[in-house]
């Protein structure tokens, strides 16, 4: 999070109205040669001028801290958690947070007490798959009078991932090893036939650990049962035919989600990348990341 050195001050739309009011007052005062009206005019001018530094101060010592952005699927919303920190002792009021670039959301924070922070979530639609830069975050404030606005820009170097939009009508391709007399899906993972062992993965149920082998001094192994072993999915980019690359990626994303939902191990093969079959959250994200970054 890089903070720009200077904050900009620029007039708001209502500043034009203020100018008009000032012009009316000035005309009335000068044509009447009326000190009372002049007093009103000068009071308004002076209050306006004095309010400018107040506006500037309102953003002094206010910084933002970006939290890491959760990836989103294209078509969904990216939610960007931002912490707006007030490092000064005084309370800050009326701060707007926005992402630079049009059409993006802005959030208003009414007040942040001194030394505290406010957490704001900006939501904007994820359009294109891939890795995107967050870009510039802008803090603005027109407090106290709303005639000028101070702008502070923060360049965020962080990126966020947009996964391909999960879509497509093709069936989940099942593994070759699967027996033709397949059981219904509900039974998956709970087969009875011992089919061998594979290395233990952290987080797996310890019920299936081959303790006897451990006692023999062998590494941790998980016993596997038939239904589970047979049932894995290999998702291959070039194994099916869809004209558009994006459509293929969408289809693959959908399959990844389906496979993960049914806890069926799945592997992904993209041109130049191969991810071996597994299940689990990190595997899931790894696959989607690969899909999202596919060139």
């Amino acid at each position: 999070m890089k903070e720009r050195k200077f904050s900009f001050v620029y007039p708001t739309a209502s500043f034009a109205g203020l100018l008009f009011v000032l012009a009316v007052m000035w005309y009335a005062a000068s044509s009447q040669n009326s000190p009372a009206v002049y007093l009103l005019l000068f009071a308004l001018i002076a209050v306006f001028l004095v309010s400018i530094p107040h506006t500037l101060i309102n953003l002094a010592d206010v910084t933002i801290v970006l939290e890491s952005v959760k990836p989103a699927f294209a078509g969904q919303e990216v939610s960007l958690s931002v912490e707006v920190m007030n490092r000064s002792r005084a309370t800050r009021h009326g701060i707007n947070l926005a992402l630079a670039g049009s059409g993006r959301e802005r959030k208003r924070i009414d007040h942040i007490p001194g030394g505290k922070a406010a957490r704001v979530t900006l939501r904007f639609p994820a359009r294109q798959r891939g890795e995107h830069k967050i870009g510039t975050l802008c803090l603005t404030s027109a407090y106290p009078l709303g005639f000028v606005r101070v702008l502070k820009k923060f360049a965020a170097s962080q990126t966020y991932l947009v996964y391909p939009k999960p879509a497509g009508d093709l069936q989940l391709p099942l593994g070759r090893a699967r027996a033709p007399h397949s059981r219904p899906q509900a039974d998956i993972g709970e087969g009875d036939d011992f089919a061998g062992v594979r290395p233990y993965v952290t987080g797996e149920s310890q019920r299936h650990i081959d303790w006897k082998a451990v006692a023999r001094g062998q590494p941790l192994m998980t016993k596997q049962f038939a239904a589970e072993a047979e049932d894995f999915v290999r998702l291959d980019f070039s194994a099916f035919h869809l004209a558009d690359v994006e459509d293929r990626l969408s289809q693959l994303a959908l399959w990844v989600i389906e496979a993960e939902r049914t806890r069926r191990p799945y592997g992904l093969r993209l041109p130049g990348t191969e991810i071996l079959p597994a299940v689990g959250q990190s595997h899931f994200q790894q696959c989607l990341r690969a899909l999202s970054l596919f060139q």
């Binding site: 044509s31 101060i57 002094a60 709303g146």
Partner: protein, 651 residues
């Protein structure tokens, strides 16, 4: 303030406000454009019917108020709120068109400040503290703005745009001072507390002794019980002015202390009269000294006017011009024989005019004449009725009848209308003269002393001349000589010391407002600037200069703000970064991730000559940035050390 507005206009505004309170929680608001247009048209028509026209101040202000009411019903967005506040500021401005009284001005400035409070509260949103916090923020803002206001007020050029338009109404109707002295015209003012003018005496610090007769207008034209002044006063020819060679005798000048200088702040009354202590001998600018030694303003007085005038009670004219004598003896045809007989009875006793005057006064004193605020109705030919039957009257009755009697008796006489007395304000050291103090008295020509003031009222109501009317009436009421005018409680209250003090203080402040602030117009400013050595070189130059100065000030201000908005920790950091740049220049570059004490050690090894300084600066930096307590003094020391580091290494 709404005095000159149609009653329904402010009512509509309050109604709209109440409606808004009802509508807002329910989410209702004025949405449809046609409805808005219809309402606006109806309001416009209403204003037209109320005032008969759409031109002028009152219809204009009414229009603004009505539009504001509609806007309140319609407003929904933040921008609209901002617009409403600005419209309300314009309404404040309009308030000044209607009146510039101190009380009104105070209300308007308070409204201005409250609008600021509203605006700040609006921008604070849901922050806690919905009244006192924005109020204190506003107070802070206003306190910081105050010096700027003073500066602008004193220095900002008051350029005349040239497009003059008269907004302030002719307020002659509200000022009661009569141009024609008819029975009851002054008595009707006795309850008015409106201020006529205020006068201070720059040469003396206490109130001048003697009765204060403020000369307003001299009436020559007699119609029995009714007198009137000239329609257009004839100025005293310059050659016959006092002091002019060949003119009248020069009165005692201020050099020997007899002339009294006054500074008078006249409330606007829409007519031409100006007042001065009996009797002025020089006209202030913009006024003429009319025949009869009274002041006459050339333009009508529509706003507060300040002028300085000198008077001398000892002015004496040595001769009466024949045409003046003729005018001063002119009588209407309707004088009854009884009146003539009365007057002749006095001249028959003694042909000396002074004796005649005394006889006349004796007549009023002894024949059961009563001084009363409510003497009843008199017509202009009711001289007989007054003199011989009812014998109840106020000052105008006595002055008019006395002067008429004098003329019948062959003594040139005229009536002077002005003010008598006034309340001396010790705080502000000025006389406050109200409309209630309006008074009429007479002047008769005595061959040996010229025009001489005779106040027949004092024959009837001794003591009136040395008091203002209110005090006099109260004294009379207390002694049971007159009917009570107010309830006992109010009398008690108004006589209490606190009330009096508060009233006097208020009047003093109000006087300051009228004289110092409302008096500070373009001419006074020009004089001030000239005396300060800022020559007036035309508005174009002035504006250019001001713009340049303003731009420079803004730049300085912005720079200072930029410095100030950087917090203390930022400053420490910036200073340290400066130190690091210098060290890098010398060959010890700090890596971004390197902590200060590691860097200090490494730099000290790399730059053995500077090691002591580097260590010191680093220790100070660590103390400032990481230690639990750090004083400002250290920050200054740190700044010095960092600067010294550069200076030392460059040498």
């Amino acid at each position: 303030m709404f005095g000159s507005l149609a009653t329904w206009v402010p009512c509509l505004f309050l109604l709209a406000l109440a409606m808004k309170f009802w509508m807002e929680p329910k989410g209702y608001r004025l949405r449809f454009a046609t409805l808005k247009l219809i309402l606006a048209a109806v309001a416009l028509a209403g204003i037209f019917f109320s005032y008969g026209s759409l031109k002028g101040v009152a219809p204009g202000v009414s229009l603004l108020v009505v539009l504001m009411s509609l806007k309140i019903l319609e407003a929904h967005t933040a921008r609209e709120f901002q617009v409403m506040v600005m419209m309300a500021w314009v309404l404040c401005l309009c308030g000044f068109f209607l009146s510039q009284d101190f009380a009104i001005a105070l209300c308007l400035l308070a409204a201005f400040a409250l609008l600021l409070v509203a605006l700040i509260q609006f921008h604070r949103g849901s922050s806690p503290g919905s009244f006192w916090s924005p109020l204190s923020a506003t107070c802070k803002l206003l306190a910081q703005a105050a010096p700027l206001v003073v500066l602008l007020f004193l220095l900002f050029p008051r350029i005349n745009t040239g497009f003059r338009f008269e907004i302030l109404d002719a307020r002659s109707a509200t000022s009661g001072f009569p141009g024609r002295l008819s029975p009851g015209s002054i008595a009707s003012l006795a309850n008015s507390s409106d201020i006529a003018f205020r006068a201070e005496f720059p040469d003396s610090r206490t109130r001048p002794p003697g009765a204060m007769y403020w000369r307003g207008i001299v009436m020559w034209h007699c119609e029995g019980m009714e007198w009137r002044g000239p329609y257009a006063p004839t100025p005293i020819p310059h050659s016959s002015r006092l002091g002019a060679p060949g003119g009248r005798a020069l009165p005692a000048q201020s050099s020997n202390g007899k002339a009294i200088r006054q500074r008078i702040t006249l409330a606007p009354h829409g007519a031409h009269w100006m007042f001065a202590l009996d009797r002025p001998f020089e006209a202030p600018p913009g006024a003429t000294l009319a025949n009869g030694n009274y002041l006459w303003s050339v333009p009508p007085i529509r706003k507060v006017r300040r002028y300085q005038v000198s008077s001398s009670p000892e002015i004496t004219e040595k001769e009466l011009q024949p045409h003046e004598r003729q005018a001063a003896l002119k009588l209407p045809a309707s004088i009854s024989p009884a009146v003539r007989d009365l007057a002749q009875s006095w001249t028959a006793q003694n042909s000396n005019p002074r004796a005649t005057v005394n006889n006349a006064l004796q007549f009023f004193r002894t024949n059961g004449f009563r001084y009363s605020l409510s003497p009843g109705e008199y017509k202009k030919n009711d001289l007989d009725e007054f003199l011989f039957h009812r014998r109840v009257g106020f000052c105008e009755h006595y002055a008019a009848s006395f002067a008429t009697l004098m003329r019948v008796a062959g003594i040139p006489a005229r009536v002077v209308v002005g003010y008598l007395g006034g309340e001396y304000n010790d705080l502000g050291r000025f006389f406050l003269v109200r409309q209630a103090d309006t008074h009429a008295w007479c002047e008769v020509w005595l061959p040996d002393s010229g025009w001489t003031r005779v106040d027949p009222t004092s024959a009837v109501a001794p003591g009136r001349a040395s008091l203002d009317l209110n005090s006099f009436l109260e004294r009379r009421t207390a002694s049971g000589e007159m009917e009570t005018r107010r309830s006992a409680f109010v009398t008690e209250l108004t006589r209490s010391a606190i009330f009096t003090n508060v009233r006097l203080a208020w009047e003093a402040v109000s006087y300051e407002w009228d004289t110092r602030l409302l008096g500070f117009d373009a001419d006074v400013q020009e004089a001030l600037l000239a005396s300060a050595g800022i020559a007036n070189r035309g508005s174009f130059f002035l504006i250019t200069e001001i713009l340049v100065v303003a731009a420079a000030l803004l730049v300085i201000y912005a720079g200072w703000m930029q410095l100030r908005t950087r917090s203390r920790s930022d400053r420490v950091k910036a200073l340290y970064e400066r130190f690091c740049r210098k060290a890098a220049h010398l060959g010890a570059r700090r890596d971004a991730w390197e902590g200060p004490s590691d860097f200090s050690r490494r730099a000290a090894q790399l730059l053995p000559k500077e090691s002591e300084r580097i260590r010191q600066i680093s220790n100070t930096y660590i103390a400032l940035r990481y230690s639990p307590k750090s004083a400002t003094i250290i920050l200054d020391r740190f700044a010095k050390e960092v600067s010294a580091f550069a200076a030392h290494s460059r040498r």
